[in-house]
Each structure stands twice: as C-alpha cells, then as structure tokens.
C-alpha cells in the first residue's frame, strides 16, 4: 500500500529530527511504497541535502517553511471577501478559545460551536485550493484587521484585549507560517490524494497536510508523536515574546492539536508522558496506542550476553554532558559511595553538548578533582583519579557498547529527561542500572533496575552501594533488563507495530475512490472487491477480478484517476 509520510524539518534532510527512526521505518517496511512530503525549516537544512533513500521511497516532495514567498494578493472581489470572512472566523475562534478542562470533565459536544476551528480551517484550505495559495493574503492588511477585530471582541481572552499593532503583525506572520501547508499543491490526485494512508511523524504543522488530505479525499491519518508538539511550542516560545502573541499562538496550537487528535484515525505517543499530554489536549483514549521508539539492539548483543567483562567496582555514566544531567549530584553520590567502598571507580563517558555543556563539563572536572584526590596503590605507583572523564572513541572506550561493558552498574542522574536512551542502551547491555525518577525512566525500566528521586545524592549512593555489594542481584537485574529491552525497545517491535497499525487503519477506513473511464464517466464495479481487502495488494498473487467475459472486446484498461488501485486493476485484466 502507499503511505504518505509527512514530516516537518525531519526525515529526508540530513539534519532532520527523528530521521533515524523514519529511516528505519521506511527501510523496515519494504513491502509498502512510501511518498515523503517534507517541510524544511531552515535554508541551511535545505542546503544540506537528503540522506540516501531506499528504493521503496517512490517520491519526495518538499516545501520550505522558511521563505516568505509572496504569491500576491487574492484576485477577485468575491474571493477576497470569502477570505476575510473565513479568516475572521478563525481569528475569532483563536481569540476566544478557553482552556480545555480535563478530558473527562468536558463531554463531547456536537454542534456548530464544537468544531468552529475545524470548519474555519477547512474553509481556508478550500479557498487556498481555489485561489492557488494564501501566503500573501495571510500577511495582508485584511488578515491583520480581522485579527484585531477578533481581539477587540467582547468574548476575547483577557491577555489579548490590549493587543498592539506590532503584536498583531507578529501573530499574523506566525499564523501564516503555521498555515503554510494550506497553500501547497499536495492534495491533488497525483499527490496526497493517491496515498492510502497519511502518517504524520509529528503533530502540529507536520500533521496539517494529513488533516487536509483527510478533508479533501478522506484519507486516514496516523499521527506519531515522540515529543508532543504543543509542549515543544510552549517551551520553545521566547520569554521576550509579548503575552498577547503567546496567548494567541498557544491558543492556535492547542486548537490545532485538538483537531489533529480528533481527526486522526490513530495517535501513537512514544511514551506515557506524551500520552498524558495528548489525553489532556483532547485525544480519545481509544485512539491512543503507545509505540515505544526502537533502537538498534544488535551492536549490544555481544556485551549483553557476555557478563565476564564486568569490572565489579566500576560505575559508568554515559550520555551527553549538560546541566540537566546533574553530574554534580552524581559526583556527590560517588563521594558517599567511596566512603563505604573505597576502591570504587566512576567513569563518565560522553561529549559535552554545546558551549553550556562544555562549561558544565569543566565545572564537573573541577569538582571531581576537589572531591577525589589522585590516589595510587602503593608509594611507588603513579596515582590516578577515581573519576575519569572520557569520550566515545577514546582509547578507554572505543565504542558505545564498550563503555557500558566496563561498568558493573550504569547510573543515570538526570533531573530532566525525556525518553532516556542511555538507559535503554544499558538495558540492552544487560547492566544493572540506578536511575533518577524523571521523564519516562520508570516506564522504561519497569522494575528491572533501581530508581531513586532526582537531586538526591545520598539516595543515589545507597542504591549504587546496594548493587555494588550484591553481584548476584546485579546479574539478575541486568538479565531482566535485557530481556525487557529486547521485548519492548527494538527496531523490530517498532516497525512491526507500525506495520500492524497501517493494516488495521486501512482496513477500517479504506479510501473509496471512483474509477473513471476515458471519457471521465464513473465506472461502476470498476474496482474488484479484493481491492478493499488490506494486505494483499502488493503480493504477487492475482486477484480474481471481473471474469474475462465481462470485458468488452477492445475495451482499454480503465484509467485510474486516483492511483490507489494500480496493482489491482491490471491484474484483474490479466486474469
């Protein structure tokens, strides 16, 4: 089947987010055909080019979000009036949107009021399709004026009532950028109109083409969010942005997220944290299916199955060095450990992230030197510090699995964490772990390692000591962790989960297309019944379509306006 993969600043670009995951997904599902619809975020990203694409990627279409391309104003008075009315409606919804309560508090209300945002959005999309683009119009004076009127309306949010002109302009510019997918020509029959399923790799603007394809052609939409886009919007908004702008934009993104979750056939959060946000934003629980990100497990196999390389007195920390990892806490905890077990060593493996990370690494080195003086076994030996800072690729740890292999216990001391990749890697390596209770740690570790509160060096120290003193327990925990990771966090499970989801969604909401003959008349019974069955289309078996006598002599193969059935129809003819 044909999958339309929707990305924003993501997959085919070398510097894209989540490109590894998308690449594995596309390579793993070679029986499907992928079309990639990518929005690029910066000029630099566009210039850096794409990563090599596998043959199952049939087509890549890109559109920039960074240029402010100007397609002029709308031609025609009627179209202009239509735009003004529609945009005013959208602005009114945005400026009056109240905070949604908890999902169970707000029962579904069906009615014209319930879906004002969606109808305004789709009306704008239809207008954009008719007029060939709205980029100029969305930045025009008419749009700004409509926004101003909406903000001055009596029911508007308090924060936006005193909005200033410069803030209106900023909001209009941001909305134009967020609504850029409306002006694209992706929704015709040779674009997203011909796919069987849209898979958006993020929420927000990336999922907008999927929403429109669903609106225009009825194509089901699958949304995968490893990080919730709305939350990223909140965290990414600069502090200097005026409150009115932030209120309007937050309201827009919240409504957009709710609309995406409402229309999507299935939403797959990457962890429970994302799932909670999605539920909070109005996602139906029945639609949510957690699909954990997959990681390459094979390179850890050797380390994970050989436990003899363990140095029983070494703790290992692996990750990118940055303040959120709270290495200071780890060093203090290690000081406590050393009081009880003086011969323990700590290896901190990782490169600093950015300038802040470099400064933090320097700070940690200083602290380590202060806390732990160099020491030697005897008076004639050369001393060494019990804490070592290394980088992957160095002589001590040439490879990532080697870094984990060296330690008896892997420690994670973060105060803020999303999905803890280093923890999963440690699990793959079959190492016992001690982690702080942040982000998705508890969900990942699931009882196969110790968890302590964040910012608590003594708790961390005691948990590490407990493991250091008990090799048997360490071994048991490590084996359990490896088993758990192999079950939940492999690439294979990720790809298989999406494969199942694709088939399930397509079988539940197949796209019904009308076949037409040469003259454009609809062709009754043109599609064989098998075409509606999922899972068989791309296999070489010949579906039994119309019997041969049903074909009139000399009749040409019916042209398929929407090419979704291109496998089925020629086969039917040959049968």
């Amino acid at each position: 089947m044909r999958i339309g993969l929707l990305t924003e600043g993501g997959y085919p670009y070398v510097s894209g987010d989540a490109r590894l995951w998308c690449d594995r997904l596309v390579r793993g599902l070679r029986q499907h055909e992928f079309e990639i619809y990518a929005l690029s975020r910066t000029e630099r990203q566009e210039a850096e080019g794409w990563i090599p694409l596998p043959p199952q990627v049939a087509r890549v279409r890109t559109a920039p979000l960074w240029t402010a391309g100007d397609d002029g104003s709308i031609q025609g008075r009627r179209a202009r009036r239509r735009f003004t009315e529609t945009y005013a409606e959208l602005a009114a919804v945005i400026s009056t949107a109240r905070q949604p309560g908890a999902p169970q508090d707000a029962p579904e209300t069906d009615g014209p009021e319930a879906d004002r945002f969606g109808s305004a959005l789709y009306a704008l999309a239809e207008l954009a399709r008719d007029t060939g683009g709205l980029i100029g119009a969305l930045r025009s004076e008419a749009a700004v004026r409509a926004l101003e009127q909406a903000c001055r309306a009596p029911r508007a949010l308090q924060a936006v009532r005193t909005v200033r002109v410069s803030e209106l302009l900023r909001t209009a510019a941001h909305l134009e950028r967020a609504l850029r997918p409306l002006s694209l020509d992706w929704y015709e029959d040779d674009g997203l109109g011909s796919v069987d399923l849209c898979h958006a790799t993020a929420g927000g603007t990336a999922a907008l083409p999927g929403l429109l394809a669903r609106h225009f052609t009825g194509i089901p939409l699958l949304v995968t969010e490893y990080g919730v886009q709305l939350r990223a919007h909140y965290l990414g908004t600069s502090h200097e942005t005026p409150p009115a702008v932030r209120a309007l934009l937050a309201s827009f993104h919240r409504l957009l997220a709710a609309e995406v979750y409402h229309r999507a056939a299935c939403v797959t959060p990457g962890n429970t944290h994302a799932r909670r946000w999605q539920e909070r934003c109005g996602a139906d629980r029945d639609k949510l299916r957690t699909v954990y990100p997959g990681m390459e497990a094979s390179r850890f196999t050797e380390v994970g199955e050989a436990t003899d390389r363990v140095d029983p007195r070494t703790l290992v920390w692996v990750g990118r060095v940055e303040p959120a990892k709270d290495l200071i806490c780890l060093l203090h905890a290690f000081a406590e450990i050393r009081k009880e077990e003086p011969r323990t060593r700590l290896r901190i493996v990782g490169a600093p992230a950015g300038a802040e990370g470099t400064a933090y690494l320097g700070q940690c080195r200083t602290l380590a030197a202060q806390l732990f003086p160099d020491e030697a076994d005897g008076v004639h030996e050369i001393g060494d510090n019990p804490v070592s800072f290394e980088e992957i690729g160095g002589p001590e740890a040439p490879d990532l699995p080697d870094a984990y292999a060296a330690g008896a216990v892997v420690v994670l001391s973060s105060v803020v964490e999303g999905f803890p990749i280093s923890l999963v890697e440690a699990m793959f390596c079959g190492r016992a772990t001690v982690s702080t209770d942040v982000g998705a740690v508890v969900e990942v570790i699931g009882g196969t390692g110790l968890v302590v509160p964040p910012r608590n060096p003594r708790a961390l120290a005691e948990a590490c000591l407990a493991l250091l003193r008990d090799p048997e327990r360490r071994e048991r925990l490590g084996a359990a962790a490896r088993a758990r990771a192999l079950e939940l966090f492999t690439v294979e499970q990720n790809v298989a989960a999406f494969h199942d989801l694709y088939l399930e969604i397509v079988s539940h909401s197949p796209v019904r297309r009308v076949l037409v003959d040469r003259t454009g008349e609809p062709l009754p019974f043109g599609a064989p019944a098998e075409a509606h069955l999922p899972g068989r289309w791309t296999e070489p078996r010949l579906p039994r379509g119309r019997p041969r006598w049903a074909w009139e002599p000399g009749e040409a193969t019916p042209t398929v306006r929407a090419t979704g059935f291109q496998e089925a129809v020629p086969a039917a003819k040959g049968a």
Binding site: T67, T162, G446, P453, L460, L477
Partner: protein
Amino acid sequence: MSGLEELHRLGTTAPATTQDPAPADGLTTGLAAVEPRLAEGTDPAPGPSVRRGVAGSGSPGGVDPFSVPPSCGDAAESVPARRGAAGSGSPGGVDPSPVPPACGDAAESVPARRGAAGSGSPRGVDPSPVPPACGGAAESVPARRGAAGSGSPGGVDPSSRSPARGGAVDPVKALMHRHRDLCERAVDPLEIAAGLEAHGLTDRAAARFRHRDVFSLAEEMYARVPRDGERPPPSPAPADALRESWAWAAPALLPGVLCTAAVIAFRLTDGRLRLAAAALGALAVALGLRAALARGALRAPARHSPAATRAWTCWLLVYALLGDGLLRAALDGGPHGPWPPATAPLLGLALACAPAIWCARLFAAGARRRLAASRGLTEFTSSVTPLLLAVVALFVCALAALLTLCAAVLHQGAGYAGAGALGTLLLLARLLTAYGHSRAPAVVLGAATAAEATALATAFAGRLPGCGFLATPVRALADAFGTNAVPALVCAPAALALLIHATRTLTRASAHARPPGSP
C-alpha cells in the same frame, strides 16, 4: 545522645533538618522527597502514596490521618531491615518479577530519610500519639546514624535546627515562589505544566502537593497567580537595526560624487575625448546608483525590481539630460548639430540620492516606532500618513536646494519644475518598490515615459507636411512656459498619483511587518 532523647526530638513536630547534609532548603527537599514507591508501581493516586511517604519517613509525629497501621508497619519495617543487613545486601532478593520488592526497597528506603529530614509531608501533620507500628521506624533512625553517621555532617545538634518550616505549610505557594517568572508570564495552565515538567517535576512529585498530576497542579498555580489586568509596559523596542549600520552612507554619496566627476571631465574635455568622458561618466554613475540602492532603506526585494521599471527610469533621466534641448531644437526645425546637455538637473538628481535614502530611513524608523507605540491599526495609519507626507516634503526641499546649488555652480538653468517633479516621482517609485509594491511604479513610470516620448514625437511629426497641427500643443506649452514645462507636466501628475497610492499602501501596518527590502 541517648536513644530517649532522640525519640523525644523526633517526636516533636519539627524534625531537625540538619540531619541531612544537603542544603536545608525546605522546598528542595520537599520536591526531592518523592514518596517511596515500587519502581514499577506508578500509582498516581495521592492517597496511598502520600500516606506511604509519611509512614516511611519515620517521623512519628507526622502521621497522616489516612495512614493505616499495617501499611505503615510495612514501610517502616523495610527501613531497619535493610539497614541492619547493610553489608549483606538487601533482604528482598531481587526478582525480576513484575513487582520487584528489592527495587522498591532501594527506592523506598532512601527517600525515607530524606522525608524525615526535609519535613517532606507538608500537610496533615497530626501530632497524635505515636502508633506502635511506627516504633520501628523511629528506632531505625538512630541505628542509621550509628552505622553511617559517625563522620557525616549529620551530627545532631538541637540548636542548629532550621526554623524554615513555615514555607512548607503551603507547599504550592512555595513552589509558585520558586517558579515566579513562569507563573507570571504563563498565558494558560498548560504553559505552567510544560515549564514545571521541564524543571523535572513529575506526576509523582505533584502528588506531594495533593494533586492528581502536573496539569491540575499547574491549574491551581495558574489560578492563584494574581492578575490585576495591568499589563507591564511594553519593553523598549529592540535597537533599530537600521540605526546601527552606517554602511549605507558611503554608497549613498557615490552617485553624486561620480556624477560630479563626470561633469567636470565633460567640461574639461573636448571633441572625441569628451564623448568618451560622457560615456564613461554615464557608466560610472549607473554603477554608483546600483551600489547605492543595493543596501539601505531603498533596497528592493529580490524579485520586485522588474526590468521595465529600470528601463523607464533610464529613459526619464536621459530625457532630463537631453530632452529639453532636443525638444527646443525640434520645434526650431533642428537639430543643427549637437546641443548642450542640461547637466545641472542631472547632477542635482544624482546628488539627491543621499537625501533620498536618508529620507527613506527616516520613514522606516518612524514607522517602526509608531508600530511599537500604536494600539490599533487605524491609529497607526493616521499617525504614519503625516510622516510619509513630511518625509516626501523634506526630500523635495533637499532636492530644490541641491538643484539651486548645481545651477549656481554650473551657470545653467535649474529646471526646478521638471527635475523636481522627476526626483519626487523616482523617490516614490523606489519607496513603493522597496516595500514590495512594484506594479504601480512600473505602470506610472511607463506612462510618464510614453507621455514624454509622445511630446518629442509630435514635435518632430509637426514638421511633416500637413501635420503641423500635431506640434501645436507642445509648441504652445514650450512658448508659454519653456521646454522644461513638458517634463514637469508629465512627472508632476505621475508623482501625485504615486503619492496617493503610497498614502494608501505604505501607511498600512502590514507593509511594515518586515524591514523594507527584505524578500
């Protein structure tokens, strides 16, 4: 210190925070002391978890009213048990079964101390008699200190007890104080929730504040932030980017300087050399003009400078140089040999490039200031319109002054009307182009060019037999007001048309959303 004293001390409602070597920040400890729980059991319900937190904390005075003795005993037991067997590992052997007690106990036992030290359970402290089940917990603490605390800074000194307990009465208030900026600038509860999570607050930590999850905690915080409706004064506009760069100034003077040099060369040379000087001068001035307009406030967006506009501009300038003489010659039956070019108006126009760019900058900066200050679109429009008119008037004055100067130096007629109208027309056309409105200037400049060409053509056509009437209007005009009246009559209405267009388009707020010349 005797065990009795220890018990007594713990029995008070104010456990000593100095037990903990960590900074005795009530809030930090409050946050950090996540209630003990099984590593897998992520029960977000506040009831049992808080209860267990208090029980495990081993503070006998702080017994939560919800606490049930058996469970209290459970949690309390684990502490001394683990402690006692410190050397031999934990008692609950590790079992990678779904409910691993060992993992739990490591996770549990540790915050337990923290909870005791940091007065973790903030609410529902009930100074009821010590239930028997908690006795174990109370005992365990001295045991711990006996085992590990000999060298630790957790020496028990009743005099050093922290009095900072008051903040914990309302932990949410303390949390709000800590995240003051976040709460004040949040536009909705979800923003607070996102910010809190970014600081590492989880649902389990939110349970300490008696909330189901971070979202409901954020809602309470959002609701409690005082909002008196007063907006903070708008931050001063960011330093104007245009003001900082003076790189435009030198190129802006380039056309004037080059044109002066060309005129001097033209005057000093003769014959064939003069022709070469003129050609070279024209080329130099064109390049200088290009350099001057490539930056600064009159820079045109990449795709908004159509070739037609450039062609019409060239024609109009050439007419200003040679047109008047040619028209006079045509009306007099000429031209009989070369006629003197009107270098003064052209030199004035070239020198006027600098004031033109400066005026455009003035307009852009003024519009930007008004943009930041205006409260409404109508207010902005009504405040920018006078600015635009003033800027154009300023340019006209500067142009008039330069024309007078050039005429005086070169001892020529200034041609105020024609050159002044042409200069204003070119300024407005370029200003509109810089703000992305390139169609109207192209049309108006084209019309002006056509009108001037028609005037010349009729003057020549009038010499054809039977066509004398064609030249009558031009001849009448030239005889009454001089040949300079023709470009004046053509350019002045054109400039007026562009001025009207500019007062409608350039006074809109959306025209100033981006600095002029940006693509």
